[in-house]
Symmetry: C2
Subunit: 413 residues, 2 copies
């Protein structure tokens, strides 16, 4: 017998979990579409050369790559930004520009697995490509706030900074691009590891203690840039409550490709980390095209979002859409049960007919319990004779026998 197991870092989603995921995805799609964002899907497999080198050495190492049966070198989707860049280059004339798209697909990364880190996981991105206006930045922030509100989050905040604030100079001289990237990556850890550790990390990366301290000082003293001031003024015009966003000079974001505004969302009672983030990246999308192309986007951290919603109890109590299990007392009474289904159906009450007329009543009720169906109806020989029906509330375990025509009103009214 073959051992039944899934690969490390890969997950099955059984119905209860799968429904929760669908609930979140469907809420997010609704929000995205209400702002005119449209779906895009790209293939799971791409030519390796499309993806290679775009995510740095680390990415090349973590990518799932192989040779297909036709000896083509292929790789599994690693993120949704590079495929977006390819799509923009490939179909430019077909797309409405600015292109506002959302994309919710799996990506695969051969990461070291640890709590909350998987090798197959959903990415959930919104991006506006082809607009450099501060309005485009503001809209992305507005959508992120709408989405978290829609999902039931209360005390959350978008932290906002500008990469311009992280163009460091030491003793008046600008850092080289490479050194600046190293500095940004260390500053990004400030909240997590503290000043001392950031200085140590900068030192171990070749900065002197003096330079490291200056970098920290510059970061802490930074102010709203003119561009951020514009974005904040639009957010005000859009009537976004200013309790939902704030300038944070220490926000850095680890990704190298940001070129302007950056932001991250944090929920007060969820401390495991940010629930999503993004920013402006005006140089990435032009990668495959003959011209550069401004872009701004936000990526929802889907697995963390699921975890936070679980912890904060934000899922509806019961995602079971079936209200009633219609049991079958015995094969001869099948038609009576079908009749009940019809009555419920006509009143738009979701019902499910148990699928095996030979199963014991106990088994049928256990099935309803396991599926968290709130009610079961039973129609045995006595009920059938008297034109009655027995309704069992599976939570309270109470049951009541009543005339058939009272069923809908008395129990589900």
């Amino acid at each position: 017998m073959i051992k039944t197991q899934t690969l490390k870092g890969f997950r099955d989603f059984l119905p209860i979990e799968a429904k929760k995921r669908q609930y979140v995805i469907s809420a997010l799609k609704q929000v995205f579409e209400s702002y005119g964002f449209e779906p895009l899907e790209t293939p799971a497999l791409e030519y390796e050369e499309i993806l290679l080198g775009k995510y740095g050495q680390e990415g090349d190492k973590l990518m799932y790559r192989f040779e297909d049966n036709g000896k083509r070198k292929v790789a599994l989707r690693y993120d949704q930004s590079v495929p977006l860049a390819r799509v923009i280059a490939q179909y430019q004339s077909e797309l409405a520009m600015p292109f506002k798209r959302y994309q919710i697909q799996n990506v695969w990364r051969a990461e070291n697995t640890q709590k909350g880190r998987y090798r197959e996981f959903i990415q959930c991105d919104i991006d506006t490509v082809g607009a450099s206006s501060p309005l485009a930045d503001a809209e992305i922030i507005e959508i992120a706030i709408s989405a978290f509100t829609k999902l039931g989050f209360k005390n959350f905040k978008v932290l906002i900074n500008d990469r311009e604030n992280l163009q460091f100079k030491t003793q008046g001289i600008a850092l080289s691009q490479d050194k600046n990237i190293l500095a940004v990556r260390s500053i990004d850890k400030l909240k997590k590891i503290g000043k001392e550790s950031v200085i140590k990390e900068l030192e171990s990366n070749g900065f002197t203690k003096g330079e490291a301290e200056e970098i920290l000082q510059i970061t802490e003293k930074a102010k709203l840039t003119p561009r951020l001031a514009e974005v904040f003024s639009i957010l005000k015009k859009l009537r976004i409550s200013d309790s939902q966003y704030e300038f944070s000079s220490t926000l850095a974001r680890a990704l190298d490709y940001y070129t302007g505004i950056i932001f991250e969302i944090e929920a007060e009672k969820y401390t495991a980390g940010s629930l999503g983030g993004g920013g402006r990246y005006d140089n990435l999308i032009g990668l495959f095209a003959d011209k550069s192309m401004p872009a701004v986007g936000f990526a929802f951290g889907f697995d963390r979002l699921m975890e936070a919603m679980e912890e904060l109890n934000l899922f509806p109590a019961n995602l079971q859409t079936t209200q009633v299990l219609v049991t079958i007392f015995s094969p001869e009474l099948l038609e009576k049960s079908i009749k009940i289904c019809e009555i419920l159906n006509n009143r738009k009450i979701n019902q499910e007919l148990y699928i095996d007329p030979d199963a014991k009543m106990e088994k049928q009720l256990k099935y309803a319990d396991k599926k968290q169906i709130p009610f079961a109806v039973i129609i045995g020989p006595d009920e059938a004779k008297n034109n009655e029906v027995t309704v069992k509330n599976l939570k309270t375990r109470e049951q009541k026998t009543m005339k058939l025509d009272k069923l809908v009103a008395s129990v589900f009214g």
Copy 2:
């Protein structure tokens, strides 16, 4: 510059196409859930040994297989039935049995690409596992009929047969299992290639002409089996119109694993082939478990379904959810446009604010056209001064200027 291209047999879905796919998927899910079917998701990658040998030599050849970074032999999902069998074995105690699940995920097959055949495509399956009743068979047929009705198909029919009718005897002696499989595969082509060719194919597979003719005769003479009679009687009790299903003695289905009822759905005006099919397969699901497990299911042919809906014009005329593009006349008038968005939003009219206050009006209107947004509103200096708004119908190209408070009622009333 890297050439931007997708792999042969792999597709990008740009917004218009992606929305159509979502429309179909969401309609199908609604139907499945209304019958108590619940979602299941399994990983894209599995240990190779879970999948290998389950789909025959052909399957092993067409499977995407490789070694991952940890030297594990892995394979991409090839269908959803084997993963379902694994899930049943792995989580039996957690699942409500009978297990009624739907699964809508991509699978990958290194097929020769040709019209309508892809290497990455969606499978869309419903299966009831753990119920051997004819009611379970009937329910699957009922759901298929509901789904096609919901999608707008009118003249379609479920053809039904029983594999029992395809247990052939020649001169009174039962065929060996292997020979019987060959015979079924040839009979499966009857409609497509005709009697003569089926006989020829059987002959080339080692049957004598006499045997071949006998097999054809047996097929054509076959009648409703007692089991099918039961299923038909339940379909009647379920009030399924008998114009929507019929017994077809020549229906064979090519897959080897069916053990009882088989069915296929055909739409009158779509002749490229069946739009889905399924049947009872009581031996497959027990593959990884210590006991056998009855099962019956239906697989929707997603790509054909999309093609048929296109040909039969069954998609809504406009899947664009945005009703109005709110243009921005100039940066100074941004707030006026935001005000319009608020008015529309309060009346639950989906609107989208154009994202670049510096863009020319022509560009903004072209954007609305390309996205098939029906209306655009313009609020220039004159309109702003007079508390008016101009509404442009993008289909008729007519435009009308009116007082702001007349906007909702006069145009979208």
